[in-house]
Symmetry: C2
Subunit: 173 residues, 2 copies
């Protein structure tokens, strides 16, 4: 549709205004409907460059617009997507040692901060413990089966889990 302000283009303002007047493109509206209806959002991906792959980052950039996911002074514990849970489940290239506190990749929690706190917590979504499979490419077939079994097992009791506190202490203590 038309621009809200064609003199000075501001991407954030334009998506916010488009959301309010129902002018977002159809694929975004559909994705937002899914988010609205979900009690739990599970993001499953391979870790690329200490974050999610660009295609999933683009989902965050495009779907979680102002007015829908957060608003002026409605962020973090007051974010608009209340009463939802999220879970980041991913595989890594590096081993668990690489992502230990003394490892060269640094504590894996440093990687989690921008995704869990910076995105989900910002929108008011609570965050469950992440689920991380380290270096599945470099382990035995048996170990890979164990990883799958552990995930299957976890999913069975996921609804009984309590969210993490998502404060800097959880990540950087």
């Amino acid at each position: 549709g038309h621009l809200h302000n064609s003199e000075a283009f501001n991407y954030g303002v334009e998506t916010w205004e488009a959301y309010k007047r129902g002018g977002l493109s159809k694929d975004l509206v559909e994705e937002q409907k899914k988010v609205q209806e979900a009690d739990l959002l599970i993001f499953q991906f391979p870790l690329f460059w200490f974050n999610m792959p660009a295609i999933l980052k683009g989902w965050m950039d495009r779907v979680l617009v102002q007015g829908f996911a957060y608003d002026l002074s409605k962020s973090y514990d007051c974010g608009l997507l209340q009463d939802k849970l999220s879970l980041f489940s991913f595989t890594t290239g590096g081993s668990q040692e690489v992502y230990s506190k003394e490892g060269i990749g640094g504590d894996i929690r440093y990687v989690l901060w921008p995704m869990q706190h910076g995105i989900m917590h910002f929108c008011g979504v609570k965050v469950l413990e992440p689920h991380i499979c380290y270096a599945p490419e470099n382990v035995s077939e048996e170990k890979r089966k164990e990883m799958l079994a552990a995930w299957t097992q976890r999913l069975k009791t996921l609804w009984k889990e309590e969210p993490i506190d998502c404060s800097p202490d959880w990540y950087f203590k």
Copy 2:
């Protein structure tokens, strides 16, 4: 071109093999040539969700392939893109207070870790102090002009700057 292993598709392996046999798509080869020739890489972007916008993340995902930017045990200080500098220059939505150590967004250095350490340092590229303009949308026109002037000024003496140490201490002390 053809897949290296069409039985079990592995994105990382396929790009690595494609790089080695000169089979990457033309746009990637051109981008890699630019990186190869550059002494300094400046990444300029608006901070989206505590990281770069997806389109720039996609550049990292697609261009910095194994064999070109890093290799088996050739990462971090031994990464393949030696003798280059990088600089992350970005604007934020939140104010400087939001991104202070006690701010709700947390220390801005937490946001820098995955980009500076996790990407550039991983590839052997040295990192200059980031250049951050906080919330240009919400400041006066005069303040915005000051921001531009400060950047202009910094660019003049950029070559005299020393890289940061890029260790966890720099980010999380």
